[in-house]
């Protein structure tokens, strides 16, 4: 993708010079910009505004701009009285564990499939690709039974974070994405390291991982974000321990007994980490690496 787009795109120079076309396209673009501000930014800004607006004002006129001042107390009340602080911490712990499990499985697995290449690697790879056809949500019922009554182990994992951390690792998409990246690393480097006497462990930690920072970043960002958004699975396996539930599970639960101003403040707090993450890693998101990779089937 060249940054220098001086030559024409879909519209050529001559067409950009034509007044009717330029007017048509320009106004369509301007309209799109206004719509995107309204649809994309609008709800986020409104949420931020509602989070610091007194409940009574939000209830009377949701579009008025602070008719009776700003209620910063919504945020502090949400954080301490509604215990959003604790749920926030729960979410962080859950996201960190899921991230760790996904990274360990994806890097070591892809290392075997792409670099070590044992004879049985092909077979495993096909099994992995097969699971891409099985949507995660249809496995909820058998997974739930497995967590409640695990085979071989006589210990229920219900109400435990392990029930969320470990299944998160089983993402075939991560392994495939990682393997494709490893496939493109220069083989000569591995050969040279091997001649210098590096074993597989050395190869993995000193050569493959340091070269894979870009893809590790992508997988990490999407892993953390996915766990932050996760609702159904933590809702099912942590049903009876509200104190240990993440934000996405707690928010609908606290809604009935929380006034709207404080509720909006809680929702804003729940969105802060993904929003800040997006602002910081914008390019990773907008390049579509994590999603685009899936398209090349």
């Amino acid at each position: 993708m060249s940054s220098e787009e001086k030559t024409g795109g879909l519209l050529s120079h001559n067409e950009w010079a034509r007044r009717d076309l330029r007017w048509l396209f320009g106004s369509a673009q301007a309209l799109l910009f206004v719509l995107l501000i309204l649809i994309g930014l609008g709800p986020v800004v409104w949420l931020a505004k509602g989070a610091i607006t007194p409940t009574i004002d939000t209830l009377r006129n949701p579009l008025a701009l602070f008719p009776h001042g700003v209620a910063w107390s919504n945020l502090t009340e949400a954080w301490s009285q509604v215990h959003v602080g604790r749920y926030f911490w729960n979410t962080v712990v859950l996201a960190f564990g899921s991230w760790l499990c996904q990274i360990v499985v994806a890097t070591t697995g892809a290392f075997v499939l792409s670099v070590l290449r044992p004879a049985w690697g092909k077979f495993i790879y096909w099994l992995l690709l097969g699971t891409l056809f099985v949507p995660a949500i249809v496995l909820v019922v058998p997974l739930y039974i497995e967590i409640v009554h695990p085979p071989l182990i006589r210990h229920s994992f219900v109400e435990s974070y392990w029930a969320i951390w470990l299944p998160a690792g089983a993402s075939a998409f991560n392994v495939v994405l990682m393997k494709r990246f490893f496939d493109n690393l220069p083989r000569e480097l591995f050969e040279a390291a091997k001649i210098d006497g590096a074993g597989p462990v050395r190869l993995f930690f000193s050569i493959v991982l340091p070269l894979s920072k870009p893809i590790l970043g992508v997988v990490s960002i999407f892993a953390i974000l996915a766990e932050w958004k996760n609702f159904l699975w933590p809702f099912l396996v942590l049903t009876n321990s509200p104190d240990r539930q993440p934000l996405s599970v707690r928010l609908p639960a606290i809604q009935p007994q929380t006034q709207i101003g404080v509720l909006l403040a809680s929702m804003l707090i729940a969105s802060l980490v993904p929003l800040i993450g997006f602002l910081v890693f914008q390019r990773t998101f907008l390049r579509g690496t994590g999603l685009g990779g899936a398209l090349k089937g």
Binding site: L59, V134, E191, L264
Partner: protein, 326 residues
């Protein structure tokens, strides 16, 4: 980027694994030799993947099939019932309702979610200066956690009283207030609108990447040959991004067939089952009443959805292989 696939220069050399260039003695397998060639370390490295995928992917898939043929209540040992669970599901009047609703959701989502992001992406791709700002704005709703998005829409935008955000705006024109989620006619479209808002950003980004990877020279060449705007769209853009369009179409069908969060959090399937979808029905079978009673039916319905989607994707990919350029 979409086209960032590996075009490998020749077959890479296997490292440390089985394929080290040593003349192999045919028909004889020596464990010592296998260990010396690094077979053990490959197994050690594969262990996390093998354990996690066996436990949480391959075993549950097998278990799903077994469950669909059994009745179980988590206490007594399960008993085999053949295809009874499938018969139960197919005879359940709610199944047809859920099937119709899911198809309706998919259709509406396609109607909103296919052309709008495409038009947006075309307009964005022609903007030189503000491309980043456009795409960041379009992607912003995707970043909001889905639960927050749904709650924001449910308790603020779709609030049925006159102080709901939409009803406030309509009130300026002396319309409403409407109970968006409370009437059987508008509940499903209301869900689709929120869902499109929440997901369209991803589609825009993918279309945009595809559009940007179209070779600019093709447009120039077409212009030189005297093609006007529409001919360029039809003869250059569309063929160049056809592969992405087809895959996105497929992914959207697959995604909407599994819709759960929106109907669950917005309406719990109501009013009068107007938003009961297939996956919500699975949830109700499995966890709706006393837990465990309907695990068999839930597994049977899950399996049917999964098999349908797998067959759909395979057939779709096979049928469209010849049309796709990528």
């Amino acid at each position: 980027m979409i086209s960032g696939d590996s075009t490998r220069a020749g077959e890479p050399v296997a490292i440390g694994g089985a394929a080290v260039t040593r003349p192999r003695v045919r028909g004889r397998f020596s464990p010592l030799d296998w260990v010396r060639r690094g077979g053990l370390s490959a197994v050690a490295f594969a262990l996390p993947m093998l354990v996690i995928f066996t436990a949480f992917s391959w075993y549950p898939i097998t278990r799903l099939v077994v469950l669909s043929l059994q009745t179980t209540n988590l206490v007594d040992p399960p008993s085999w019932v053949g295809l009874q669970n499938f018969r139960d599901v197919l005879n359940d009047p709610l199944f047809m309702t859920a099937l119709k609703n899911t198809a309706y959701f998919a259709l509406l989502a396609l109607l909103f979610g296919f052309p709008i992001p495409l038009i947006a992406a075309v307009l964005i791709s022609e903007s030189r200066r503000f491309r980043g700002a456009y795409s960041a704005l379009a992607y912003l709703p995707v970043v909001i956690p889905p639960v927050v998005g749904v709650m924001l829409w449910r308790y603020v935008f779709y609030e049925p009283s006159s102080v709901g955000l939409f009803n406030t705006v309509l009130g300026w024109f002396h319309m409403g207030p409407y109970g968006w989620l409370q009437s059987t006619g508008t509940a499903m479209p209301a869900l689709v609108v929120e869902s499109t808002w929440a997901n369209a950003g991803t589609t825009v980004i993918i279309y945009l990447a595809a559009l940007m990877s179209v070779d600019r020279d093709l447009y120039d060449a077409a212009s030189v040959d005297g093609a006007n705007l529409w001919r360029k769209v039809w003869h250059v853009t569309v063929p160049q991004i056809r592969g992405v369009l087809l895959v996105m179409f497929m992914l959207q069908i697959i995604g909407t067939a599994q819709v759960f969060l929106e109907p669950y959090l917005f309406t719990s399937g109501g009013p009068a089952n107007a938003t009961l979808t297939l996956l919500l029905l699975v949830y109700q079978y499995a966890f709706g009443n006393s837990i465990g009673v309907g695990f068999g039916q839930a597994a049977a319905l899950s399996l049917m959805v999964a098999v349908f989607l797998a067959i759909f994707s395979l057939v779709f990919l096979r049928l469209t292989r010849s049309w796709s350029t990528t």
